[in-house]
Symmetry: C3
Subunit: 138 residues, 3 copies
């Protein structure tokens, strides 16, 4: 069972999508009387990622973006793929290093996330766009 | 079918859990007469990771920890999320870059790991704790 | 249903295997009349990875390799595991940071990749070899 989420992003950084994924899982779990299972979240882009991060202090997400901005500098003279601007190749590097897909067990009909875990869409481009995320439940 | 492993860690570094995961897979495979399948291992924390690494020379795990200690320095002035100490935000960065989850095929009722592959729990905090790992077999 | 792909690599860099994975998925989907599902690709090595990257401009893959060559330098004095040469430990670090496994949803009997996404085998050793990749379809 696959559902598609389309999320509009507004530039670099993390947007929590835990509620969206949870809603899909609860709907499918109810329809199919599913108690245990596996939820796979997949992003159909190479310049945005999916990560699980702490959802208590928003500073964690800001610090993560600060770290990646320093690790993969925009306009790095190393990069030759610059057609779409100085944030183009850094976005691809981030999307190799950070997950394109997450698999989360389902227990008692719910996502079995830890207490402090949230699911995030991580936009890497300077200009945001509509990002397509598939949620597979089995 | 989901089993929970609770593993006590003792500070930064990798602890092999291949035998624990293998035991779950073999038990479930026997009970359900499962020949082929998929084993998903998921850690319910944002300051520890799961990785597959070489299990022959222990120096590989030590060098990996040395590399990450330099890549994501403790007490980096870049970080503002420092409530729990200088190792707090570096642990979150590591947990974004390293896997929260692994999916390993099951063949002939066993984990289909390569000859040199071991499954490791990777603790990122200076003080270890009890880490919860879910093992889903389907 | 698990198929094994064996791919010969020729030194560091990315080799596209989208067509190989697609062929397995289409065959299984046809045999089992599978419309929706999940394809898990797993590499049985700790010195090579699997990544999803842009498949339009080959410069993306070259720039990615250039980035990793700088991030994890060959012959770094930090490393003690050097038995197999200066590219030995860097390959293990890359294989921790980059995915060992990818899970891609199947929709309408096909891999549900985004428009610009390709599946790549990423060799990290200076001398290539025959790499074993498992493709699990369920």
């Amino acid at each position: 069972m696959i559902s598609t989420l389309t999320k509009r992003t507004a530039g670099p950084g993390l947007t929590e999508i835990t509620a969206d994924v949870t809603a899909v899982v609860q709907r499918v779990a109810q329809e199919r009387e599913l108690d245990e299972g596996l939820c796979t979240v997949f992003i159909q882009h190479t310049s945005a990622s999916l990560v699980i991060q702490e959802n208590a202090d928003p500073a964690v997400c800001r610090d993560l973006e600060a770290f990646f901005r320093r690790l993969v500098p925009r306009g790095d003279p190393l990069f030759t793929h610059t057609a779409e601007g100085p944030d183009d190749m850094p976005a691809h590097v981030r999307s190799a290093v950070l997950p394109t897909q997450l698999a989360i067990p389902i227990q008692h009909g719910r996502l079995a996330l830890g207490t402090w875990q949230g699911v995030y869409l991580y936009e890497h481009r300077d200009v945001g766009s509509a990002r397509r995320v598939l949620v597979h439940v089995a």
